[in-house]
């Protein structure tokens, strides 16, 4: 019995560290080590220690792609939150059965592969088969246009893919917001829109912030969507890393890029959290 108890406790303590060690720390350590390896021109690498790869990415090309990655991620996360918040809040006021039906529909979007979603949008935004034909048919446009392969197509695709996640993150907190709170605002003369802006949004600030951070990190790693809907100048950082590793066989450089990318992402998350806190402090 006693031995079993100890084994149980060992398992409880050991399981998370084992998982973390085997599936995160070990690969991470391998990456760190590889990022300092020496690249052999024939397309392979050998053990060594050099900072060449870390120096290489301070080129205009990589900086530009880093900036576009950050820009896309910030905007896609922000748009998704902006769409998901009113949607989820209104949804949370619906009768229970309708809520479930709508949530299941939203979730079904998540079950689609990113490839299918990106491909579908590339067709829908194209000139020969796209939505613009529909708009021409109902007389809103003069002639069909191609929207795919461009800045807005990428942003649209990323936002589309993120929004269901934002809904999922916000839903529990939205349902917890008491109906009487918004009713109280209305008895004091606030219209529904005013109530949403002055009561619902401030009360859900922590939820909005965590949804934003999660979607930002999530979007930073986008691979398929920018490739399908964007031009090469819209390719995000993950594509460049993949290109170095798979096309050019430069594993050490790909590892260094990945490390750098991770540091930048974490730094931005830290800044966002800090900003959120100081805002909170101002509230008190």
């Amino acid at each position: 019995m006693k031995a079993g108890g100890r084994r149980g406790r060992l398992f409880v303590l050991g399981f998370p560290s084992l998982m973390l060690g085997a599936f995160f720390l070990a690969p991470f350590a391998i990456m760190v080590v590889y990022s300092f390896y020496h690249r052999v021109e024939s397309g392979f690498y050998e053990p060594g220690f050099e900072l060449t790869h870390y120096r290489n990415f301070f080129s205009p090309l990589f900086t530009r792609h880093l900036l576009i990655s950050i820009e896309f991620s910030v905007l896609a996360a922000a748009f998704s939150c902006a769409i998901a918040l009113p949607f989820t809040f209104i949804l949370s006021r619906y009768p229970r059965r309708l809520q479930v039906a709508i949530l299941v529909t939203v979730l079904s979007v998540l079950s689609l592969s990113e490839v299918i979603v990106a491909y579908s949008w590339s067709v829908l935004l194209s000139r020969p088969a796209g939505i613009s034909n529909l708009l021409v048919a109902i007389g809103l446009m003069d002639r069909p246009q191609s929207w795919s392969r461009g800045y807005w197509a990428v942003l649209f695709g990323l936002t589309y893919f993120n929004t269901p996640f934002a809904v999922l993150i916000m839903f529990p907190q939205c349902t917890r917001l008491e109906r009487e709170i918004t009713e109280a605002a209305q008895t004091m003369g606030a219209s529904p829109v005013r109530t949403f802006l002055t009561v619902v949004v401030p009360m859900l600030r922590p939820t909005i912030l965590s949804a934003f951070i999660l979607l930002f990190v999530f979007t930073m790693g986008a691979f398929v969507t920018p490739q399908w809907l964007g031009r090469p100048e819209h390719w995000m950082f993950a594509i460049l890393i993949g290109d170095q590793a798979l096309q050019r066989g430069n594993i050490p450089f790909a590892a260094a890029l990945a490390m750098f990318f991770m540091v930048v992402t974490l730094a931005l998350v830290a800044i966002t959290v800090r900003l959120g806190r100081s805002q909170e402090a101002r509230f008190r």
Partner: protein, 355 residues
């Protein structure tokens, strides 16, 4: 006409009828209670007045103006919710002046108003604090101050005191009544506590199963319940099955267990042989020793005596009917448990209601 009028107001939620054909005139400046057991529709009725529910039928008229289709935020009402619904992201002062901020009142005027209102609810100097730093009773006062900040035409309260302990609740009842009298604002409170309703109100509206059962000043409702439900709900009452006795005009009487009881009056339209309920307050029932027979008296046996110090309750079983009497210690009946006794139901205290 000034005041609030509800005309044929009904509210159905699917199959369920929450409020059924309510017809009420609530005069301006009065304190009105909606009193009834839980689920009787009193909260729904209040929410209909606030515009938080749309009526299935009927109109809401305030000071002669039909406000049925006016949305809540344009009705100029103040409301205290059961959960209080204070905004956790704002300070006490910001909570109170939320409505003023929506209206665009400037900061200094808002601050002054918050201080004045906090003064009025006896809670000065907490404007800068956070709601989470206040006790239950203090939050209560903040919610009241907030509801009054815009000088509303109607002050509505939905069981606002139910979360407080008994002592604080009684204090708040008195305070709320005094505040209302000082401001002269038409006030409607929803409560299931008859004592609370009696303490505060000018007018009590007794409700059960979606309908209004009686409307009147508290004492009138207490003394002259319109039906058995009201008699039973407004404090403990003896409800005795009876039938209307044959009698000459001007000499109304009922029969209880074969004994004739003279009463002040009978329900309208009652004729001999009709089944009715004789109601009488326990404090009006006299318990006498066996053998002291006379008019309006019934013989029985004492089944139980509850002596709690401030009052003595005597239960007398008479031929299948139990009559309860409450007396002060100095008027204690000279009988004990198991003794034969006689109960007197004085003519002027008997109220007969239809069944």
């Amino acid at each position: 006409m000034s005041g609030l009028a509800l005309r044929g107001l009904s509210k159905r939620f699917g199959e369920l009828t929450a409020v059924e054909d309510v017809e009420l005139e609530l005069p301006e400046g009065k304190f009105i209670s909606f009193l009834g057991p839980s689920g009787c529709g009193k909260t729904t009725l209040l929410r209909l007045i606030a515009g938080l529910e749309k009526p299935s039928a009927g109109r809401v008229v305030l000071d002669g103006e039909d406000i049925t289709d006016v949305p809540t935020h344009r009705r100029n009402i103040g409301m205290v919710f059961q959960s209080l619904a204070l905004f956790p992201h704002l300070t006490v002062g910001e909570n109170i002046t939320y409505g003023l901020r929506i209206r665009g009142t400037d900061r200094t005027a808002r601050r002054a108003r918050a201080e004045a209102l906090l003064e009025a609810v006896h809670l000065p100097g907490v404007a800068e604090r956070h709601v989470s730093q206040l006790s239950g009773g203090q939050r209560q006062r903040v919610a009241i101050a907030r509801a009054l900040a815009l000088e509303p035409r109607l002050f509505l309260l939905d069981e606002p005191l139910s979360a407080l302990d008994a002592k604080l609740r009684e204090e708040m009842q008195v305070e709320l009544r005094m505040l209302q009298q000082r401001l002269g604002i038409t006030t409607v409170i929803v409560t299931h506590d008859q004592r609370e309703a009696m303490t505060m109100s000018d007018l009590v509206v007794v409700m059960s199963t979606a309908r209004v059962r009686q409307v009147g000043p508290p004492l009138e409702i207490y003394r002259n319940p319109a039906n058995a439900f009201v008699a039973d709900f407004i404090g403990t009452s003896n409800l005795i099955e009876a039938e209307v006795a044959k009698a000459a005009a001007g000499d109304p009487a009922v029969r209880v267990a074969g004994v004739r009881f003279a009463v002040e009056r009978l329900p309208e339209g009652a004729s001999a042989g009709d089944a009715v309920t004789l109601t009488i307050r326990p404090e009006d029932v006299h318990v006498l020793a066996a053998g002291e027979n006379g008019p309006n008296r019934l013989a029985g046996r004492v089944s139980f005596v509850r002596d709690v110090g401030v009052s003595v309750e005597t239960f007398v079983a008479c031929d299948g009917i139990t009559v309860v009497s409450i007396a002060s210690p100095k008027d204690r009946p000279r009988v004990g448990q198991g003794d034969a006794a006689v109960v007197e139901l004085p003519r002027e205290a008997c109220v007969v209601v239809g069944r």
